[in-house]
Structures are given as structure tokens and as C-alpha cells.
């Protein structure tokens, strides 16, 4: 080494200072950097992008901010023009009474009996549906993606068709079919289905049970299941065939290969689909309205959206009662999504990962 024109001094644990002959001062180096026109443009573009993203994020977040702010207010705050986001009369009455009166955790029916409330019913229903749907999507997606059999294309077309025929168009038939359930039963022919023929015309009513959801999930025809199957198929198409071939050569059967090699690979994708189907079932209103009705119906999330009786009594005749009702309903909506948000925070990184790996390319 030359006579030490270069000195290295250790400033802190992770920082060193290097001095050498002809080194420009910090100020000069900064100036040089600024003079390069490229830096300016990049900086401006980056700042612009950041602000834009911040703005769009704000649009997404803002309704939640207002809802959260409103959830801690009393009607007096709503009537007060000077209160905008920070409540003056801070209280948690809305949460308290929604849990108490609207049956969030435990629901008390007209006879005074306590049942499990909206949270548990929706949780069970969503867990069951999401688990079954994820599994079925995996199986069917794998079958379509990796095996050449007669009617392979037809199955894919069927998947797409179930995706685009709106279930609202079928709702009447759906209801009728689960009021008296049977398989392979076309009502319009007037014949009995397979189960009825075997049991001698016994009527099986599945309304107000979880069975309609379970049966539809098992058959891969529940809400948006076509999308899940499609996503799974795209994912499996991206898995190289060599992986399975080497397993076959080693003597592993098709199903063993699937369980021991393919499934562990697809965990991020499965989490993504589980997350989708769980949260879409959680916020679902269409099917719960369709299959649950009357006093026997399981108490699910949509039912907690109303003004709790205690609050109604407390504020009868208040000038802003109508507005307050909206605010309380929004608070209820916050309580519906709170478990989802918590789950999302944990699974968020898998969601992006799963989607990125899926390479959803045509």
C-alpha cells in the first residue's frame, strides 16, 4: 500500500468514514449530484408517484376514518356543527349496545333463550366454506391443468360458464331445490330425484341449515368458485411437469405426488384462495338471505345492522336520530369487517406472494 493517504476511521458500529486525497467535500458532492439533470427528473417523478399513491390510499382509507370517528360519537356530536372528526362526547355506547342488543356474540331470542350470535355463526360458516372450497378448487384445478382426458376442455368451459351465469338468475330455483333437496332432480320433469326414489319420497328440507352452503362448496358451484378453480388451474400450469415426472419415476402414485409434492408447493396460492373465499363468505348477504329465513334462521352478520333497541329508547325523538341510525349501521359494518381486517393483516404478504407466483398469465 502507498503511504497512507487513505484513512479509514470507524465512527459507530455500522458506519465508517473514508478519507482519501482529492476527496470532494460533502457539499460539493451533493452539488454535483444535483447538477446531473437525471437526478432531478427521477426525484420529481418519485415525489409525484408517492403523492399520488398517498392520495389514492387516502380515498380508500377515508371512509373508514369517518366511520371510526362516527362510531365514538353520540347524537349530540352529530348535531354539533363544530364537531367534524374528533368526537367531543367520546363514548363506546354504539359498540356496547350492538354487542348487547344486536347479538354480536350471543343472541337472545324472543323466548329469552341464549344462542350463539352473529360472530360465531358467520365464523363457522365461513371457515367450513373456505376450507371446502379451497380443497375443491385445488383438486379440480389440478385435474384440469395437469391431466389430458376426454372432455378436459369441456370441464374448463363449464367452469367459466358457472362463473358468468349470475346466481341471482338462479335464486328462485336454488331456493326451491334446497327447500326439498335431492340430487339429480329436475323439478320440471315432475320425476323424483335419486335420494327420494331410494327413501320413498321423503322430503329433506335444508333451509336454515349450513347444508346448502356445504353442498354447493363440495360441488364447486358456490359463489365465485369458478374464479378459484381458474386461479388454481393457472397456478398449476406454471408448475413444471418434471417435478411430478421425477416423483413418478421414484415410484410415487398420482395422489401421493399430489399430496406430498404439489400441495406443499401451493400453500401461498391456497392461502390466497382461502382468504378470498373466507372473506367473501363472511360479508355475503345474498346466500344468507336466500337460505336463512324466519325465526329459526342462524343469526348471521347482516342481522346486526340495525339500531339497537337500547339506543332507540335512549334517543327517541332526537332531532338527528335518522342520521344517528346511519352512523350506528356504519359502526355495525365496522364490527363486521374487524375480524377480516385482523386476518388480512396476518395473511397480506401471502396474498401478494400467492398472486405473484400464480403467474395468472393466459
Amino acid at each position: 500500500m502507498e503511504s497512507t493517504k487513505t484513512t479509514i476511521t470507524k465512527e459507530t458500529k455500522n458506519k465508517i468514514q473514508v478519507d482519501y486525497e482529492g476527496k470532494l467535500s460533502t457539499k460539493e458532492r451533493l452539488l454535483n449530484k444535483i447538477k446531473a439533470s437525471n437526478t432531478w427528473i427521477t426525484a420529481i417523478v418519485n415525489v409525484f408517484k408517492f403523492i399520488l399513491m398517498l392520495g389514492v390510499s387516502f380515498v380508500i382509507i377515508y371512509p373508514f376514518i369517518t366511520k371510526i370517528a362516527g362510531s365514538f360519537m353520540s347524537p349530540n356530536d352529530l348535531a354539533d356543527v363544530t364537531v367534524s372528526l374528533i368526537p367531543r362526547d367520546f363514548n363506546i355506547d354504539q359498540y356496547k349496545y350492538i354487542i348487547q342488543d344486536n347479538g354480536y356474540f350471543f343472541h337472545i331470542d324472543d323466548l329469552g333463550q341464549q344462542h350463539l350470535g352473529a360472530f360465531f355463526h358467520t365464523l363457522f360458516l365461513s371457515l367450513i366454506c373456505a376450507a371446502i372450497q379451497t380443497m375443491v378448487a385445488c383438486l379440480v384445478g389440478y385435474g384440469i391443468a395437469k391431466f389430458k382426458f376426454k372432455g378436459n376442455v369441456a370441464v374448463m368451459v363449464a367452469v367459466v360458464v358457472t362463473m358468468i351465469i349470475p346466481h341471482s338468475a338462479l335464486q328462485l330455483a336454488f331456493r326451491q331445490h334446497f327447500i326439498s333437496f335431492d340430487i339429480a332432480h329436475v323439478m320440471s320433469t315432475g320425476n323424483m330425484g335419486i335420494i327420494q326414489t331410494l327413501t320413498g319420497g321423503k322430503n329433506i328440507e335444508l333451509i336454515n341449515t349450513y347444508w346448502p352452503f356445504i353442498i354447493m362448496s363440495l360441488g364447486g358451484i358456490a359463489f365465485k368458485n369458478g374464479l378459484y378453480i381458474y386461479m388454481m388451474r393457472q397456478f398449476f400450469k406454471g408448475v413444471p411437469d418434471e417435478l411430478e415426472e421425477s416423483a413418478y419415476v421414484d415410484g410415487s402414485g398420482t395422489f401421493r405426488t399430489f399430496v406430498q409434492i404439489i400441495l406443499p408447493l401451493s400453500v401461498p396460492m391456497m392461502i390466497t384462495i382461502f382468504l378470498f373465499s373466507f372473506s367473501w363468505q363472511w360479508t355475503d348477504q345474498f346466500y344468507t338471505n336466500l337460505f336463512f329465513e324466519g325465526a329459526d334462521a342462524p343469526w348471521t352478520m347482516p342481522k346486526i345492522v340495525s339500531l339497537p333497541a337500547s339506543l332507540e329508547i335512549l334517543y327517541t325523538g332526537h332531532p338527528v336520530l335518522k342520521m344517528f341510525t346511519t352512523v350506528v349501521e356504519n359502526t355495525a359494518s365496522l364490527m363486521i369487517i374487524l375480524p377480516l381486517v385482523i386476518m388480512y393483516l396476518f395473511c397480506q404478504k401471502y396474498l401478494v406472494q400467492g398472486i405473484e407466483r400464480s403467474g395468472l398469465v393466459g
Binding site: Y62, L78, L85, G220, M323, I337, Q348, V352
Partner: protein
């Protein structure tokens, strides 16, 4: 060696022969095909045993008159009435208008959502400050803006901002949108520039609906992001070495490579937009369901046919622009 062979042949009993017949080794392809059927079996059963009967019955109901029987069993009395349910809606006031409004919303939303989600996906795909946070925020609507929450985010949001802001802005009738972006400003800005009226209405419409458009772009954004991730970085590198600017890179590389995703997204957005409950046509038909379920079902089928036609047209147009990278 020859001894061994003899031994095995001697062991063959009639039972073994039967076993051999039943477990005749099929060719690898045939066995794989059989495994394929087993994998898609749940879906096949679901389709054949449950979905198809429901589909057929739904069509049948749409050609029938349904009334409850008076014997108290809750059984339905179904009489075929031909095309009556398909003709009646056009005499119902509001149906054609709702249908047109629904289609208008579709035409308005689909391009806006696709352009917006592509733009955001491209930005989110680059390295930037706080990218992880932005990604987390942008995918919140995917999880949350569905089902019952849609009623809140669409209708409720405007009431809400008005409600929390006190009585101050509820008089202007602008609702929540006025707090995010002043629509009047945009209107004035565009009115002072001499641009055609339709464009002004369109832009103002987008600004008014910015909340909805952002909220409905979640899945599309995910799909675009996945597509962008699958483009090989070496292509961009080669492009940079040849001296292409960012703008050129986008139009010559990113856009063609992402075009299959645009097709997928266009179709998905059309489906999503027309099955959404806040679509005017959907809302009208759903309201009719309470009164005359069979007519409402017929309306759904008509609506579905129109949309299916649109999907075919959109897919047809888009697929002629789509560039498929040849796989090696």
C-alpha cells in the same frame, strides 16, 4: 434364471388370472386420464347432480306462472305461460330505463377500472418508498368491498361523510364526494377548456365515482401485478441498453406483454360490474323479485343474454389485439 421364470408361471392360479384381468395395466396415458377424472370428480358431480337441474328449473320457472297452493303444504303450483314473462317486463315502467342505465354504467366503468388498475399496478410494481404499505392498503377493497359491505361503501359512504361533517355540507347535496375532490372545480376547469361535452361528463363522472372505481379495481390490480411480475427482467435490461426511454419501454414491452391480462380483466370487470348489486339494472330486477319472482327470473335471463353478448364482443375485439408470447 430360467428356473425363476418357471416358478412364477407355475404359481398362476385361476384367481390370479381374474386379478390380472381386472388390474390389466393400462397405458400411462390412460391411467393419467383416469386420475384426471378423479380429480375433477367433485366439480363434475356438482355440475351434473345439482347445478344443471337448478339451471334447467330456473329456465322453466321463467316460462311459468308460480303461485302457492292453498292446501298449506307450501308446495308451488306452476303453470306454463310461454313467453309472457319475457314480454311483460317491457310494459313494466322503468325496466328498459334500468337496463339502459345498467349498460351505461358498464360502458363507463369498465375502461376506467382497467386503465386505473393497470396504472396503479405499474406504479406498485416499481421500487418506491412505502411500497409494502401501499400494496397492503390497495388490496383492502378486495377483501372488504363485497357483499353486505358494498351497500355501505356505495350508498352509505356519502351519507356518512355528510353525517359526520355535521349539517355543514349536507345542504350542498354533494355528499361525500365534495370532501375528497371538489367536483365543481373540475367542471369549471373543463368548461373553460373548450373540450366536447361528452368528455367533460365522462371525466366528471369518473371524479364523482373515484371512490367506487378504486374500490372495484382490487382484483384487477392483483391480476395485472401478477402479469407484470411474470415479464422477464432481461427484456427490460436489453431495452435499457438499447437506450429506450421509460415511455417507449411501456408501450413496446410492458403493454404487449400485459395484453392477455387486459383481456382477462376486461371480461372479469364486465362480469363483476353487471352482477354487482348496486348496478341499476340489478337493483331494479332484484326489487321486482319480491313481487313477481318468475318475471324477475325472466328479466335476469334477458339481462344475462345481453351481457353474454357484450362479453363475446369485448373478448372478440380484445383478443385481436392480444399478443401472446410464444413459449419455448
Amino acid at each position: 434364471m430360467s428356473n425363476n421364470v418357471k416358478l412364477t408361471t407355475e404359481k398362476k392360479s385361476p384367481l390370479d388370472f381374474l386379478k390380472h384381468i381386472f388390474r390389466r395395466r393400462a397405458s400411462l396415458d390412460a391411467r393419467k386420464a383416469r386420475a384426471g377424472y378423479v380429480f375433477v370428480l367433485p366439480f363434475l358431480l356438482g355440475i351434473v347432480l345439482i347445478y344443471l337441474p337448478i339451471l334447467i328449473d330456473s329456465l322453466w320457472f321463467s316460462f311459468s306462472q308460480i303461485s302457492a297452493t292453498s292446501d298449506g303444504t307450501g308446495r308451488l303450483n306452476i303453470v306454463s305461460v310461454g313467453f309472457e314473462n319475457y314480454v311483460k317486463p317491457f310494459n313494466t315502467p322503468g325496466f328498459t330505463e334500468a337496463l339502459l342505465a345498467g349498460l351505461q354504467q358498464l360502458l363507463f366503468e369498465v375502461p376506467a377500472i382497467i386503465v386505473f388498475s393497470l396504472f396503479i399496478a405499474v406504479v406498485l410494481n416499481q421500487k418506491m418508498l412505502g411500497r409494502a404499505m401501499f400494496r397492503a392498503i390497495f388490496f383492502v377493497p378486495v377483501i372488504i368491498s363485497t357483499g353486505i359491505m358494498m351497500d355501505f361503501s356505495a350508498g352509505g359512504q356519502n351519507d356518512m361523510s355528510g353525517a359526520v361533517g355535521g349539517e355543514t355540507n349536507s345542504g350542498t347535496g354533494e355528499g361525500g364526494a365534495s370532501e375528497i375532490i371538489s367536483v365543481l372545480d373540475v367542471q369549471q376547469l373543463f368548461a373553460s377548456m373548450k373540450i366536447g361535452g361528452e368528455l367533460v361528463t365522462y371525466v366528471v363522472g369518473i371524479v364523482n365515482n373515484v371512490y367506487n372505481i378504486i374500490n372495484y379495481s382490487g382484483v384487477q390490480m392483483l391480476i395485472f401485478l401478477a402479469g407484470l411480475q411474470s415479464i422477464s427482467p432481461s427484456i427490460y435490461e436489453a431495452c435499457r441498453i438499447d437506450g429506450a426511454t421509460g415511455w417507449e419501454t411501456f408501450w413496446k414491452i410492458t403493454f404487449p406483454m400485459i395484453s392477455p391480462m387486459i383481456l382477462v380483466n376486461a371480461v372479469y370487470t364486465v362480469i363483476d360490474s353487471f352482477t354487482r348489486t348496486n348496478n341499476p339494472a340489478m337493483r331494479f330486477i332484484q326489487n321486482a323479485f319480491a313481487l313477481q319472482p318468475e318475471m324477475s327470473t325472466a328479466m335476469y335471463w334477458m339481462y344475462f343474454l345481453i351481457i353474454a353478448l357484450i362479453i363475446v364482443v369485448v373478448a372478440g375485439i380484445a383478443s385481436s389485439f392480444v399478443f401472446y408470447q410464444r413459449k419455448d
